[in-house]
Amino acid sequence: MDNIIFRNNVKIFGEGEEVLLFVHGYGCDQSMWRFITPSFEKNYKLILLDLVGSGKSDESKYSFKKYDSLEGYSDDIIEICESLDLHNINFIGHSVSAMIGVLASIKKPSIFKNLILIGPSPCYINDDTGYEGGFSRKDIDELVETLDTNYLGWSSAMAPIIMDNPDRPELAEELEQSFCQNNPDIAKHFAKVTFLGDNRNDLKNVTVKTLVLQSSVDAIAGINVGEYVQENIVNSELVILDTIGHCPHLSAPKETIFALKTYLN
């Protein structure tokens, strides 16, 4: 169990019994929940984690084969829940982790009480059936290019410098405090798996009670996508926040907390 906890940098805190499991989306890590968690610490047990390859997870456990589909990640979620003997949990997944939660709940529904999907999208690519995911294949290639230019020199920069300078602990501290620093090769692979995936057919298999939390303006997963998710999950409801952007829990934490509390109560 310890190595699963280490692998996903799992953090457990809070004074309550009922579990809120927060899973971050693509491009970030568990620090994105920092404005949300303080409001739930009193009444819930909070569990945060970093997906393997993101944040401060054990990068050595990243397998380009296992994580070539979202199932690799959803299996990790199930494994963590089982090793901690969790049942009836509230799963809060942002962006790609909304779909990771969907897959995990189909495989092991008994673990989940509620799925709360923030800015979910089952498919980011437009197709010729009229579905508008918002992007084209070319856009995703462009994203990978953007990653390339922004990670220039990353791989040789971070870790070795820290390893070679034990007398300069501030370097390690800097990394410790850094946000969302992900290995560029993994970031690129994860980008392709996330944005080129298509989980539309999985939605109808969800049986767990689901909340779709949607920003009124979201360039990554628009309202039409949020509505599509809600329409295709049987036991679900859609709440549209008066917020802008793909990360309402960061840009508008108050509204997000209010919506979460309303649903959970």
């Binding site: 989306g25 693509y26 491009g27 970030c28 620090s31 994105m32 920092r34 404005f35 962006s95 918002g134 992007f135 084209s136 070319k138 856009d139 995703i140 290639d141 462009e142 994203l143 990978v144 290019e145 953007t146 990653l147 390339d148 230019t149 922004n150 220039l152 946000f179 969302c180 980008a191 944005f195 979201d218 360039a219 990554i220 917020t243 802008i244 952007g245 793909h246 990360c247 960061l250 840009s251 108050k254």
Partner: protein, 397 residues
Amino acid sequence: MFHPNLNYKELYNTSPCGYFCATLKGEIIECNNRFLEFTGYEQEEILEKKRFSDFLPAGSIIFLETHFLPILYAQGFIEEINFDLVKKDKSKLPVLVNSVIIKKGNDEEGFIQSTVFNISQRKNYEKELLLAKEKADNLSSELLKSNQELKDSTKLVLEQKSDLERLNKYLKNKNSQLSDFAHIISHNLRSPVFNLHCLLGFYEESTDTDDKKMLIDTIKDVADQMDETLNELIDSLKIQKEFYVSKETLIFEDILQKILIMLSGDIKKTNAIITFDFTQVEKITYSKVYLKSAMLNLLSNAIKYRSPKRIPEIHFQTIDKTDEIILAVTDNGLGIDINKHRNNLFGFNKTFHNHPDSKGVGLYMTRVQIEAMGGAISVNSQVDKGSVFEIVFQKNL
């Protein structure tokens, strides 16, 4: 206070970097002339109408929403992020963006300040760097591949080396077999020849016709046994392949009887009393040449190193153990000072008696043969009391 010749507004507008300010929701509410120049828009087309993402291609918007903004919100700032601005005329301008969140009063209010640096020139250089890095990465993976190939061939060489070592061991073994063979020939024929001499001596001395006839019969038997031994050795050579390993089922008593004939002269001369008990184990699957050689050696040694004080008594006994068969040969001869000879009892050309016939070959040869078959030989002895030689045969071999 500013310098009297400087105008704050003018400095702001002519600054070498673009500047814009947006609400926390992303709407641009202020920008300088340099930013207008970078984007190609008029101020009224931007303020309160556009967001920063409106200047970005779709792929970069994903990066903005999933990486840039989360970090900016969570950390309060973000630096040196590279985007391509899409200008009004659709051409692109590579820029670096630094952003910081400025909070005002209550935490729901505030705005995002951003500076935008033109990096067109540096971008070309970076592209070259990226290409070079890609090349280096490819080269590195090629090197890794060659390294793997080298490792593979090293492994192959090592395997070949170990094959050669095995072959070498096999040849050494073969060589020692041949050397054994030479010893068997010379040694095992020596006893019967000596034996023949004895019998001939008896014959010459004897005057009794019946005795003479019996002696001639015995000499014939000895000659027959020698013939048989020779033939066996020659056969085993013909077989070529590890001759000592060709095994067959042997009856201990039969082998002993043949040996008694071969040594009948010695036995007669010394009045030696030979007894045996093979009831525990009657048969063994083993090399005939080796078993015969071992038993012949042990018996001829027991007779050779008899005590002058008493008639030699030699007993053969088989013992059945779980995984082993033991053949024990007990005598009442001179005995060996075990402590003195412990380490070289079965060595080559080692002798422990000042006996005129002692050549030190027999025990060595027996040991080598027995060990080659996976067995062992040991001795227990007391000076002037006698010795017990034990041959241990492995049942499963």
